[in-house]
Symmetry: D2
Subunit: 292 residues, 4 copies
């Protein structure tokens, strides 16, 4: 931010750490619940585990078995016959299907809402705006299915503009509502090879991200690894993250799986967001749900 | 298991890996949604992070910052002004608020439903019944508030019996229904010191666990670290885990925070269960929700 | 092992966990020290860190900064001006320059010297023959420089036979002595691309490994990732590991850097082996030294 | 550093990253080798593994088995009968017996020799003065046995002063020589309980550390966790680290085991220092050796 303070900062108080999740009022929860007709629950998660590929600068997810059936086969004691297995998981909070906490991205010396960036340190993690501050919500989910709109997965590097999003809303027969969790289907997860997935993705432009924030969305997600188009437009770096997370306090959901939701013909539905409240983390793995 | 195959095995097919979560039918989802009147969302998570204590045989949760604001303060490049922070989290899938997957506990050579135990190995993790097989559900949650019933937190080592659970149901004005997520409040989380928390907890007895399974619950949770009373009755080791996970395919939710839910006067409510689908893990961190 | 117990087992007692390192007697230490004329110390380590490539089935080395200068730049307190940085390292004990402990490889149900394999478990690590049992030694090092002998790096998949080793000894003007640490230079580390390094390496055959054991060596190392030729001869898998580690109790040193040693014209020299005594590990990182 | 640049900075060039290890010339290596009479090798390592206690702000060492004998007992494939076990080790580079690299401690904005502190970051580790820059050395080791001198282990919080060190040199019949690795036995490792070990240790004072640096030592080690007395004198924090590492470029060896060396009656001996060249780390585990 060179100069102007984003208009949303301070809207929910100077100490607010919840951002756009504040938009999910009890009324909107009730409205969202009323959308359910079938009682059918869909997971929007991509697989998460050691076998999944990750962005090159992040280590793979690792799972370490601390006790397993092999130990008993090799003679470990099982008191009264009881046996158990347990493991440790090590994962980047930005691998797999996850939410970016509001401490994840910024410019200048301030995070969202003017919180000083310097509180994000090796020793403390994100002392403010960590993943544990993300409010879990049930709200209206809206699928903006660009694959359906354009008849095919978006090509690499395709920039999704405000007009594309508006057209997708119209095709769904919906208008934006405050508190919406907007899920954008680019088709990237299904169409890119694991090797290409972390480069040149289609996604929202900076203006499209800003447009979404203006619609008062609570969450924005997509079926790619950064929601926004890569590479960014010349002279900007991750403008979508700055427009959503930094200026507007909107957490971003990355690496969603949206094909099944699209196949179900879903447009508006109950969306469930229950991240792990990891203290001081800059993100959290999630299993987002759509309930039809 | 001394001989007999548990009657529930095979009920949902020989290859079933979902267990009692199968009981949450679309009808039950709809019924549970209808319980919501206020649109108020309560998290049932205890804090999770490096500062929290853990059982002695499990390492503490760790958070490693891979990039943070300090790096920029020390001169790291921020292209076009963009900055970000990210971290890696390492946690036992049985620390903090979590769900035990159906591969977590067994006796003999078979896991729940007769899956061979030998598929749980260092190299593969739980090749069946891993956390990624847990069905996310929205279902009716029932709070069995033993603190309210007895006027104080249960004393260390208190064994909760079927009659206690029945009394708590009655006090709540409810009868068990198939698919219920049953949450048992012992008061242990609020009353035990962090140092004492992992020993001598009050909790359900083996018979009480079996009684819950007989009520066709989908999930059983408690505000202690193992749901069941510790130490176990002489001659048995973790009989509650065997009755629920192994015999009946009921995932267990441990280290819940239930005081706020009790204070809200909740008895039956919409319960949200959205674990992280960690491939091959024996459990998953969760943020369970109650919606009033 | 199909049947016969290897002749060396029991040689140093039924409970021996030191294997061929027993061959380094005080006399041999003194003899080796007497080889030094210049007081020049050469490291035989390849670089070890997050930037180095690893075999595909092993995760990369990771370094996590727990406190660094950035934290102070971002405002961390420095009492009386004191500042410090610290990190955590996570590494496969078989990545980078390392020694294979005697618990690393076996066939059948017994490790070296008849120790039961079942003591190597998830819960305990290698309860016997772990890295902490490796005796640190100073002994005579011998460089068998096959690159010098054949005028170029060995081609991929080249099998080094006993006759090659004998020729290299002769070229060096040396005869094998009990307790030697034998270092075999194939040229693989210098000639293979990082991408190819973990496949098709030239190295010793099973018979060459057995020949080395018969010379009563204390250690065998090479400038490749497995000492022995890859792939193994049809019908055998890692016969060199079985001949050295399992049958003869000879620890193996992998991923050495030997070019500088060869350039120095070294043939026999003081060799320093000081592994980290990691309790229960199957190997250890090392910085082996040659002193000329 | 408030003002004056330490006199040693620049002594070995402005870009020097080796510090006092430069003092170990080939001549001194030869002199040290000549001290050996028996060919007897003593390890000076305390045990290192998951069972060992650590300072409260550092996580315990962890060992994760990636493959073990249990996996084979549970049915894992062993091609041609070959079996292997491997593990991953995760450790603080300042737990257990280790060396502090010259990037570990400083004051102001400069590390040893004026290297800018800002190169020690989360993203890069210690881009200069990392553990991989530590020169492995063989040099004269000197045991300053304060337990022998005073007839018992030093009491908690005992400050070891220059006069104590001089007296110990005299008792050993030795005078300081440039390049010495000085090992100070306080008796703390043998006398403190694991619980007390990380508090109130006896050790060198700031002036004693400075006196050692003035003797042109190459390394200073002790049988406690920080070499210097804890707590530090009022108004200073870790003055010994600043005098040795920051001002004089002397790496410090912590958590040594010196009882066996003292029992052997050793005073001057060949000392072997072969740290793991961990790129960008602030320290390294080691197995230091004394050769008598």
């Amino acid at each position: 931010m060179t100069g102007d303070r984003p208009p949303r900062w301070g809207l929910w108080g100077e100490s607010d750490e919840r951002g756009a999740l504040n938009l999910v009022t009890p009324e909107r929860v009730l409205t969202a619940l009323a959308l359910v007709t079938e009682g059918r629950i869909l997971s929007l998660s991509q697989p998460i585990g050691p076998a999944e590929s990750t962005a090159p600068h992040r280590p793979n997810t690792a799972r370490f078995m601390m006790r397993d059936a092999g130990d008993y086969a090799a003679g470990a004691r099982s008191p009264d016959g009881f046996r158990f297995a347990e493991d440790i998981v090590q994962l980047s909070t930005h691998n797999g299907t996850h939410v970016d906490a509001l401490s994840h991205a910024w410019c200048g010396d301030e995070l969202y809402n003017g919180h000083p960036a310097r509180i994000v340190r090796s020793t403390t993690g994100a002392a403010r705006l960590g993943a544990e501050k993300l409010l879990p919500v049930l709200t209206r989910g809206v699928l903006l299915d660009l694959v359906g709109l354009y008849g095919q997965p978006l090509a690499p590097r395709t920039s999704v503009e405000p007009a594309d999003l508006q057209r997708a809303y119209e095709r769904a027969g919906l208008a934006p509502e405050a508190g919406d969790a907007v899920l954008i289907r680019t088709g990237w997860w299904e169409s890119a090879s694991p090797h290409d997935y972390f480069d040149n993705e289609p996604g929202v432009s900076g203006p499209a991200a800003a447009w979404l924030a203006d619609q008062e969305v609570s969450l924005v997600g997509a079926d790619n690894y950064a929601v926004e188009v890569q590479p960014s437009v010349e002279g900007q770096t991750f403008p979508g993250h700055l427009a959503l997370i930094h200026a507007a306090g909107v957490p971003m959901l990355e690496n969603l799986a949206l094909a099944e939701l699209a196949a179900a013909g879903a447009t508006a539905f109950l969306f469930v967001f229950a991240p792990i409240p990891l203290q001081g983390s800059t993100g959290s793995p999630i299993q987002p749900l759509a309930v039809l």
